[in-house]
């Protein structure tokens, strides 16, 4: 309990709390954005999109067995990937529509900002766990996402749809991950702590 009352613990709780709400808002915004995107791009809302390269999947096996650090690292990697994907989508959007549909562009930019903000939250949490933050360049140099292939316009639209759907899933997962992290830490040695995580 003493640890819970420390400034770092309070900061951690605050970061988790706001991360949860940010993820929740991000999910809500992404859901709204999805509707607008499907409508604007003329896509079938029920169309299924196969997994695409470069888009991190939210689904994971043995989710409840993950350590806190592992959760944070997976989240951080995913949102960094989404940041790049959304930035590319925003660029493609501008190329396609110019300023014709500023609303969609602003919504994409807002989601992009939220993804960035959430990534910042994750980095802060990792710092609190005294864990090194993997560098983006380093990561990209070693096993970073391969450069996006040149796609047709329709394929760009479908990929955009897939990115947003997966982001929505990730937002949901992130809320759950952070809630898991926000739970009071069990007594050392009795529960898998962040220190135990690989």
């Amino acid at each position: 309990m003493a640890a819970a009352d420390s400034p770092s613990a309070a900061l951690r709780r605050d970061l988790c709390s706001r991360g949860i709400r940010l993820a929740g808002k991000m999910r809500a915004d992404v859901v709204d954005l999805l509707d607008a995107y499907v409508e604007q791009q003329g896509l079938d809302p029920s169309a299924s999109v196969a997994a695409m390269d470069g888009v991190p999947l939210a689904a994971v096996e043995r989710w409840d067995e993950q350590t806190g650090t592992q959760r944070l690292l997976e989240n951080l990697a995913a949102y960094r990937a989404f940041r790049a994907l959304l930035a590319q989508m925003l660029e493609e959007q501008r190329e396609q529509l110019g300023e014709a549909d500023a609303g969609l562009g602003r919504a994409l930019a807002a989601v992009l900002l939220q993804v960035s903000a959430f990534a910042y939250h994750l980095e802060e949490l990792l710092r609190l766990e005294s864990r090194g933050i993997p560098g983006e360049e380093e990561e990209e140099e070693e096993d970073g996402p391969p450069p996006l292939p040149r796609l047709s316009l329709f394929e760009q639209k479908l990929r955009g749809l897939g990115v947003l759907r997966e982001l929505a899933q990730w937002a949901l997962r992130s809320v759950r991950d952070l809630r898991q992290l926000a739970k009071p830490s069990p007594a050392p040695g009795t529960a898998p702590g962040l220190a135990d995580s690989p």
Partner: protein, 917 residues
């Protein structure tokens, strides 16, 4: 070739530079410059400028730094501020830049006189920006997904310089574009704000003198949100009459923030809001049921929201939505009262039942009807009567007695509790005591002291007192535990009659009344005063009371103000109950102006002026003067009469001397010519004894002449002398004839008629002349001997002139005998003249005799006659002629003259003969 041209050009340029030291490197080269060039200086700091002369100008123009003068605009800078650094550099120092102005110029005095400008700079003075303070931000929700963060700050003092403000914000790993304010320097708005990340916000202010930065504000924008107010608010009535349900929509997603709410409501038409307890609405929701409302009442609702944890700002109130609760049965019975009219018959009442419509919160719906039940309590056998009424009054005809009236109001839900009014046969119970009123703002408070018995309720009646219309009664009921109520709707300046009745369980107390004003004013007019009665020193004033509409308050007193035109005003205060007053101690026969003033507690008004004049004499004063005077006069008259009566003999002797009756004269007996005696008889008929009471016979001796003053006799002497010249002879009869008709001989010629009348006058006297100076008179005339023909002449004269003339003649006759009768002067005087005609020497004594009986006035007249000598002469001539023919004849009656000689014969009386007495 080219090089030659370039040398020429260079040489030309050199000449220009030398000749024109101001020429720049281009066309004009300056002879110097100032360092620094166009500086921006902090206000209040010190400043030093250097003016550096070009070397080229030194040799050519013989100008050195010592000749430099500095100027600000056109004002010379004191030389104490100069410093010559070397022969080409001069500096000027300002300890305070606030004394600086633009331009600052460096000038030189060529040859000590000519001032030439070398260079000038623009100096800008200002302040460095202050640190912006009080930075605060608020995130306004613009739409469902749009939020705009608006930050404001205090920019600090004015810098007098162009100062840039920037609102900067950043995430730890992300720096956002700066927000540059437009047109203002103290606020900026940032769109696309992102929540849930701590954002660092600060303001930078920059100008030429520096840069300042505000404190950094680190805030998650979600904590400074002012959300939009809930939308689509609707109000629906529920099953219960005291509940309304509100539903709404929130603009902001619960994913962004959860909200708490405030709900307020008010009855439509009222201004005071009520609020739902905040703890009931402290969580996210989209509906709420408001309870504890009044049935069948229209409510307006409004709602607002903010972040649930209380961070941020309340939204604006939503627009009002109206909802109405459903009906409920009336909560109480209507207040009921009665007015009993016994004017037709004391034993048979006309009872006006009146009740008040229930207030909306009591009626709880629309009252459909009232049910009135009347029960005669004095007679158990009488059936209960029921009436259904839709109005708020009902009139019954009831015999005198005790009744119980029950009233129920009914709406669509059900009936109200019953209101019961007991109408006793008489109000025999104790009344309230100490009834009083007190104005309280726009209400009139009526208070009383409760009777000793327990009172169920009080009924307060009041009505506006009017002189022109009946008192329209208003009323209200107060509970038995109160001892005062506020009456609403009372108009100021109006008189109200307030009556309070206590209602007991078994009867009713008699009413106590009081008159009251909510607010008093001065009367709208003053009384019109007039006089009822005006005397010499007092006046009774009357006036009418002002009507109650004119009073505007309680009349405390009347004031009478009266004054004379030039006098001071006198003021009298009169009791307001009076309508009459007597002003006393007034000045008689004086115009008074009076006016009257009526006063209330709040002022006075004066009526019109009225003027009156006091009388000159008091009542009975004239009578007091006139009656004694009259009485005194009467008394004097009476005394005079008595005196005269007592002295009647003496008076008679003087006024009516006894005239002897010639017919009874003894002369007739001894006269030789007696036959004419019968004529005397006829004369007796004409002049009876009673007519001539006395005749004085005066015997005058000629010697008595001396008894008259010489002065009195002068006129006669003069006349005598004049006439004697023309009348040398005189016969005795002729003289007598002239004497008997004096007018004919003496009066004015224009009085011929009078002469004719008087010519017949008879002298019933006998004149006996003594001898002049002891001489024996030749003859004595005795007129009585010749009366008969003269009487004939008188009869004829009477025939001509009528009875009136006859009376005048008689009077004339009598006057000849009166000593004091002045109106007979003329005939006597005329007769005197006749005598002078006769014989001056013989008749002197006679003249004296005639004068002795006259006053002095005829003498004056005689003087006049002397001036008319000519006329007199003619008359006298006529008179003389008459003597020669017949004495006593009248010219106009020649027939008489013819008859006369037969009987009218002068007779000679011997001396010492009979003189009739």
């Amino acid at each position: 070739m080219f090089s030659q041209w370039s040398w020429v050009a260079c040489g030309f340029c050199l000449v220009l530079n030398i000749c024109s030291p101001d020429a720049s490197s281009g066309l004009v080269q300056s002879c110097g410059h100032i360092i620094p060039e166009s500086p921006v200086l902090a206000l209040g700091s010190n400043f030093t400028a250097l003016c550096i002369l070009n070397e080229s100008c030194l040799d050519f123009g013989n100008i050195y730094a010592s000749q430099i003068i500095w100027k600000i605009k056109n004002r010379l800078v004191p030389k104490e501020q100069y410093r010559e650094i070397n022969r080409t550099v001069s500096s000027v120092t300002f300890n305070d830049t606030s004394s600086l102005a633009t331009p600052l110029t460096c000038n030189i005095l060529a040859d000590g006189q000519m001032e030439q400008n070398i260079y000038g700079i623009t100096v800008t003075v200002g302040l460095a920006p202050e640190k912006p303070k009080n930075l605060s931000c608020i995130v306004h929700q613009v739409s469902r997904f749009t939020y705009v963060m608006n930050c404001t700050w205090d920019p600090g003092r004015h810098t007098f310089l162009d100062t840039q403000f920037k609102l900067r914000y950043s995430w730890p790993e992300e720096v956002f574009p700066d927000c540059i304010p437009k047109d203002v320097n103290n606020s900026c708005s940032i769109a696309d704000i992102q929540f849930f990340v701590n954002t660092e916000i600060w303001v930078e202010a920059t100008n030429a003198l520096g840069k300042a930065e505000s404190d950094h504000l680190v805030v998650d924008p979600i904590d400074i949100v002012k959300p939009l107010s809930p939308q689509n608010v609707s109000v629906t009535s529920g099953i219960l009459p005291t509940v309304l349900q509100l539903t709404w929509q929130n603009w902001i997603s619960y994913a962004v923030m959860t909200l708490k709410f405030n709900i307020r409501y008010r009855i439509v038409g009222e201004t005071d809001w009520m609020e739902v307890p905040s703890e009931d609405t402290a969580s996210q929701r989209t509906s709420f049921s408001v309870q504890g409302l009044r049935p069948y009442t229209k409510y307006a609702f409004s709602i607002r929201c903010m972040k649930e944890d209380g961070q941020g700002y309340w939204s604006d109130w939503s627009e009002e939505k109206i909802g109405t609760t459903i009906e409920d049965q009336p909560s109480k019975g209507p207040p009921i009262w009665r007015i009993i009219d016994t004017s037709h018959s004391p034993a048979f009442w006309t009872v006006h039942l009146i009740w008040k419509a229930l207030k909306p919160f009591e009626a709880n719906g629309v009252i459909l009807q009232y049910e009135v039940t009347v029960r005669d309590k004095s007679s158990l056998s009488c059936p209960v009567k029921k009436y259904n009424v839709t109005s708020t009054n009902h009139t019954l005809q009831l015999p005198e007695g005790t009744y119980e009236v029950t009233l129920i109001a009914r709406n669509s839900v059900g009936p109200s509790p019953a209101s019961v009014l007991l109408i006793p046969a008489s109000n025999s119970k104790a009344p309230v005591k100490n009834l009083r009123t007190l104005p309280k703002h726009d209400k009139l408070w009526v208070g009383w002291t409760a009777p000793n018995s327990y009172v169920l309720k009080y009924v307060i009646e009041w009505c506006l007192v009017s002189s022109s219309s009946d008192c329209i009664i208003e009323w209200q009921i107060a509970q038995g535990d109160v001892q005062g109520v506020n009456l609403k709707g009372i108009k100021p300046f109006k008189c109200y009659l307030i009556t309070v009745y206590p209602l007991y369980a078994d009867g009713q107390g008699s009413g106590q009344s009081v008159k009251a004003y909510l607010k008093q004013d001065r009367p709208s007019k003053g009384p019109t005063v007039q006089t009822k009665k005006v005397g010499k020193a007092e006046a009774v004033l009357t006036w009418n009371h002002l009507t109650v509409e004119e009073q505007n308050g309680f009349i405390r007193n009347y004031t009478i103000l009266y004054k004379t035109i030039d006098g001071n005003e006198t003021v009298v205060t009169v009791d307001p109950s009076k309508t009459e007053y007597t002003l006393s101690s007034l000045t008689s026969d004086t115009l008074y102006t009076v006016r009257m003033m009526a006063s209330t507690d709040n002022g006075s008004s004066t009526g019109p002026d009225f003027t009156f004049t006091t009388q000159k004499f008091g009542k009975g004063e004239i009578e007091a003067i006139v009656v004694p005077v009259c009485l005194a006069f009467l008394l004097i008259v009476l005394l005079g009469v008595l005196f005269c009566f007592n002295k009647r003999d003496l008076i008679k002797k003087h006024i009516w001397p006894i005239v002897p009756d010639p017919s009874k004269s003894n002369i007739a007996q001894w006269s030789p010519q007696v036959p004419a005696k019968h004529n005397f008889n006829s004369k007796d008929q004409m002049y009876s004894e009673g007519s001539f009471t006395d005749v004085s016979v005066v015997e005058i001796e000629a010697d008595n002449k001396k008894s008259f003053s010489e002065q009195d006799l002068k006129p006669f002497d003069l006349l005598k002398k004049e006439k004697s010249t023309s009348e040398g002879h005189s016969s005795g009869i002729g003289g007598s004839s002239c004497m008997s008709s004096p007018r004919q001989s003496v009066s004015d010629s224009d009085e011929g008629e009078t002469t004719q009348n008087t010519s017949s006058t008879v002298q019933y006297s006998t004149v006996v002349l003594n001898g002049y100076r002891d001489q024996t008179p030749l003859q004595v005339f005795s007129r009585s001997e010749s009366t008969q023909p003269l009487l004939d002449s008188e009869e004829r004269s009477e025939d001509h002139s009528g009875g009136a003339d006859s009376t005048a003649q008689r009077q004339q006759y009598f006057r000849q005998n009166g000593q004091d009768e002045t109106s007979t002067d003329r005939p006597c005087f005329e007769r005197t003249k006749q005598i002078t005609h006769a014989d001056e020497g013989d008749l002197v004594g006679f003249v004296q005799l005639q004068i002795s009986g006259q006053s002095s006035q005829p003498l004056g007249l005689g003087m006049e006659k002397n001036t008319q000598e000519a006329a007199l002469s003619s008359v006298l001539q006529t008179c003389t002629e008459g003597q020669t023919v017949r004495p006593g004849t009248v010219e106009e009656n020649p027939l008489s003259v013819d008859e006369m000689p037969k009987s009218y014969l002068p007779q000679t009386v011997r001396q010492g003969g009979y003189m009739p007495q």
